[in-house]
């Protein structure tokens, strides 16, 4: 499958949410420091605590195939796990639906109307039960 690699590489150089050196166990490490070695697209992934200071990312279709990450401290491990948990598009979408509904309850108005996106299927309440 082709993908827009150059664009992703450019994206990787943009200011990051979080950046750190973490030890990664998986495929062999690349030696080229200038370009990112790899990217993991985080949809439908599970972030799991492993040994202390270590977490893994696995994907729903193959939960045993894990990418391991070693952190320099327990604190760093916590930070990364929390950031990754919130990083998925799905999480952001659910947050949006949640806030929209809460605002409707308090004000009686739909806050998405001002953005012109109130009819989009991805923002409907039914999406939360999925």
């Amino acid at each position: 499958m082709r993908y827009n690699e150059k664009e992703l590489q450019a994206l990787s150089r943009q200011p990051a949410e979080m950046a750190a050196e973490l030890g990664m166990r998986g495929p062999k490490k690349g030696s080229d420091e200038a370009e990112p070695v790899g990217a993991l697209l985080l949809e439908r992934c599970r972030v799991t605590r492993e040994e202390p200071g270590t977490f893994s990312i696995s994907f729903i279709e193959d939960p045993e195939r894990k990418y391991h990450f070693e952190c320099s401290s327990e604190e760093q491990c916590q930070e990364w796990m929390e950031a990754l948990r919130r990083a998925s598009y799905e999480f952001m979408r659910r947050s949006l639906i949640f806030y929209r509904n809460e605002i409707r309850k308090v004000t009686g108005k739909d806050p998405l109307e001002q953005f012109g996106i109130s009819e989009e299927a991805r923002f409907q309440l039914s999406g939360l039960q999925a």
């Binding site: 499958m1 082709r2 992703l8 070695v37 949809e43 598009y89 952001m92 308090v106 998405l112």
Partner: protein, 259 residues
Amino acid sequence: MKLNERSVAHYALSDSPADHMGFLRTWGSPGTPPTPSGTGRRCWFVLKGNLLFSFESRKGRAPLSLVVLEGCTVELAEAPVPEEFAFAICFDAPGVHPHLLAAEGPAAQEAWVKALSRASFGYMRLVVRELESQLQDARQSLALQHHSSWKPAASRCKPQARNNRSVVLENGHPLSKDCRPVGLVEEAGSRSAGLGLAERELQGPASLLLGRGQSPVSPETSDFSTLHDWYGQEIMKLQQHWQQRAQGSQPECEEQDKP
């Protein structure tokens, strides 16, 4: 650069709902020159979140390509062949050409441009942050309304003013915070409590205290006793006003009785 292709392809084919899909012509096949020409290739495109996949056909078993929609803009464009409803996904990356696509009609073109412009995680995050702040404002305004069960300035609630005044006059003393006249509760529900309040002009004792950097509707106003004082002052002023009117109206009533 490595990518977790298998997982991504699995996601593309899964039954999670797509945000948009349809046939589009694309000029992005490998080996094509940077300047698109010809009629392009018709593929089935599926947008899921910020991921745009293309397939050979609707029943395609593996995605042909993926465009990750972050850090890009979507613009109308001209196709090499006229009368194509073309648009382009443009990235700000070195050595990268816009991804040219064409829809089958003007409605489809518009729908795709809208969907793709709003597809990024970045866009969603902006919206979520905005909603978070709106919810906070709305909740604080609602809390303020519950604390203040009387209106400081008559101009803010003209239709309800009569009800409020008669209630205050009957009681003869300032309303306690537990007492909520019906008119007020309705008002809270009918206007956009969170959004409108902050913009309204403040009158009465509130204006006296604006200089101190506080206001009855600012979420920063943390001192309840200050709020209480404001409304208390306003109530006393109103009371005096009505008492004067009540005394002044006696002669008028007598006059009406005269033939």
